[in-house]
Amino acid sequence: MPKLNLNRVEMPRQEPKKRGKNFQEVAMGYTPGMAKEEALRCIQCPKRPCMTGCPVMVDIPDFVKALSEGNLPEAVKALKRKNALPGICGRVCPQETQCEAVCTLAKKGAPVAIGRLERFVADWERTSKPETSPAPETPPAPPSGKKVAVVGSGPAGLTAAADLAKLGHAVTMFEALHVPGGVLMYGIPEFRLPKEIVRNEVDYVASLGVDIRLDSVVGKLATLDELLGDGFHAVFLGTGAGLPMFMNIPGENLNGIYSANEFLTRVNLMKAYLFPQYDTPVKIGKKVSVIGAGNVAMDSARCALRLGAEEVNIVYRRSREEMPARKEELENAEEEGIEFKLLTNPKRFIGNDKNWVTALECYQMELGEPDASGRRRPVVKPGSEFIMETDVVIVALGTTPNPLIAQTSKGLETTHHGTVVADEVTGRTKKPGVWAGGDIVTGAATVISAMGAGKRAAADIDKYLRS
């Protein structure tokens, strides 16, 4: 057996001091030399364990091998066989809990940097000239004469639309916002996922013949039954989990208290970071408090910092171990100077006579017995209340699906969490002719799982349309 190389090639990143002041991408990507060096570390395990960690089963050893041989067109081909959006997944997949977690080299603490390699290959394809890109593997199927409505243009909708179009169906994609891409556009900030990459993927989907209708709120403009009666043979719902949760504690409607959705939408989608060149404002706090510790909280905190906040605190009721954010993003946030107030939970918000938030009153917490999620449950330390000054608060406690469509259509079963009930494999809902996938079914999850659901639903819709 050849000697294992356990030196994972680091990816260059912008200096923390500098990047804390701009919205440019933090991670700068491998050079061709670095990519090849990292790819050569893969030992091409015959059993391909890494693939089982990927929700869409990317042929990891194949694309890594092609890359290690310097055959980039072949690497693109192998990668895109299973993943239509590698430039996005390479950047935002939680690789450390998916593909890289089960890489053989992970046992030695140095898994192959699959995500970074994926990103490198995708970026190479995007920036190299079209004539060097490989031709699509399979030509599009002849028109089937069937019409499908895809609702929502996030990763689930984009994937389903692309697959259905390739299979020869006429696809119309309805998007409520004025920009397609879902959370990829309005939620995840530029410094983690440049919007040009998302636009590129959307253009690709449009190039397949998908008719993208923006400014179109399904449920308002047309109900599901109206779509089905209006010539659509099937509907795929990929409307995500966009309804923000609040804490329901006193003072939550004070000025300066945002849901993460509102804050990130103002900053990313409406480009408030370029105000007043762009018309949409956002409050730039001096002392910003972000409640929660998931990816959404990290993104909010790091946006607030980049807008010019002097101090940004993450307020989280559990301890470091339980934080749901990706490790890499947590470290990035820490390096940039975000502070963590752990085992801390707000009791109420305090405001001034102009209704502006001025402080949080918090409890100190301690960890008790494990709860249903297996994590130790935080409990209030009696008499531990203390005051934390703040002038902007961002509540990032999670989201649930928007009830708009379920409310306006009969026969769509939902759970008490508001998620739509759909078959795990096929995405079929209880309503005939309607499929669903992504965050609308699972609740807030990941880009790659939403894509996987879109893919599986597209395959099942195709089967249904042809039977």
């Binding site: 004025h178 300066g256 945002y258 409406m270 409050k283 708009l404």
Partner: protein, 280 residues
């Protein structure tokens, strides 16, 4: 892009735009609104649907110039286009046979009250409308509103037309003297709606108001539009915009509407400079 089929100046600073939006026109109902964006750099702002024509595929909005976006809109003419036009959003105004309904319209809101009064009349109600403005030059659509009302009372703050005074005075008379009012619908500036609600509250006459908090998406996704009604937080864009005026926390609404006054001022000053340069 959504084409402006016609722009009409209703007063010196209120303009009506008939906009090509066939899909919205097919579904519009009284009391619903749209969210528009003028261009790529623009903010998303909500505007109530004033009228629609399914045949023509058009929706009309009436807009009062207040800040950057509404002034940018005022620069556009018939034949121009705006970047985005989303709707119909929010729940329609409840229209039933109530008996006698008083519709109060403050300022530019006459355009919003008009389709509601029309629908109420069609549902068999006796409609008494009160139209109020600061002065005569700010009044428009008086005849339109009269044509869908059994009775119309016009007030101006300075007495330059109609009755001198605020809309709350005839409202109070109608409720207290006639005592036959079954419902009040009051739409206009928040402060006017607040005082209409305060006027009718002692008499227990249900008063519906159309709330206008700051919004972003208008689909329930951001929570920017939260208002407190009966002590419960509601999202005005999906749970409203109509609410029971007696239950609304008006002070909270008024305070939240002022969230960005510093930024709005800065943005508007910048617009004024650009505009002045362009006019030169």
């Amino acid at each position: 892009m959504y084409k402006i089929l016609e722009r009409e100046d209703l007063t010196s600073n209120v303009h009506a735009y008939r906009i090509e939006a066939p899909a919205v026109a097919r579904k519009a109902r009284p009391g619903q609104f749209v969210v528009i964006r003028v261009d790529e750099n623009g903010e998303r702002i909500p505007l109530t649907i004033a009228d629609w024509d399914e045949q023509e595929g058009s929706v009309t909005v009436a807009v009062q110039e207040v800040g950057t976006t509404t002034h940018r809109l005022a620069e556009l003419k018939t034949g121009d286009a705006i970047a985005n036009f989303v709707g119909p959003l929010g729940l329609p105004t409840e229209i039933e046979h109530y008996g006698t309904v008083v519709c109060v319209a403050g300022g530019f809101a006459v355009a919003v009250v008009y389709p509601i009064a029309r629908a109420l009349r069609q549902a068999g109600n006796k409609v008494i409308s009160i139209l109020g403005a600061r002065n005569k030059s700010l009044l428009f659509w008086e005849d339109e509103l009269r044509s869908v009302s059994d009775e119309l009372i016009v007030t101006t703050d300075d007495g330059s037309y109609g009755r001198k005074g605020l809309v709350t005075e005839p409202l109070k008379e109608l409720i207290s003297v006639d005592k036959k009012v079954d419902r009040v619908i009051a739409i206009g500036p928040s402060i006017m709606m607040k005082f209409c609600a305060l006027t009718s509250k002692p008499f227990g006459v249900k008063t519906v108001v159309s709330l206008n908090p700051i919004m972003v998406d208008g689909t329930g996704m951001c929570g920017c539009c939260r208002v407190s009604v009966g002590g419960v937080t509601r999202f005005a864009c999906v749970d409203g915009p109509d609410f029971d005026g007696h239950q609304v926390d008006w002070d909270l609404l008024l305070a939240r509407q002022r969230t960005y006054i510093d930024e709005e001022k800065l943005s508007f000053e910048q617009w004024l400079q650009k505009h002045a340069a362009a006019v030169k």
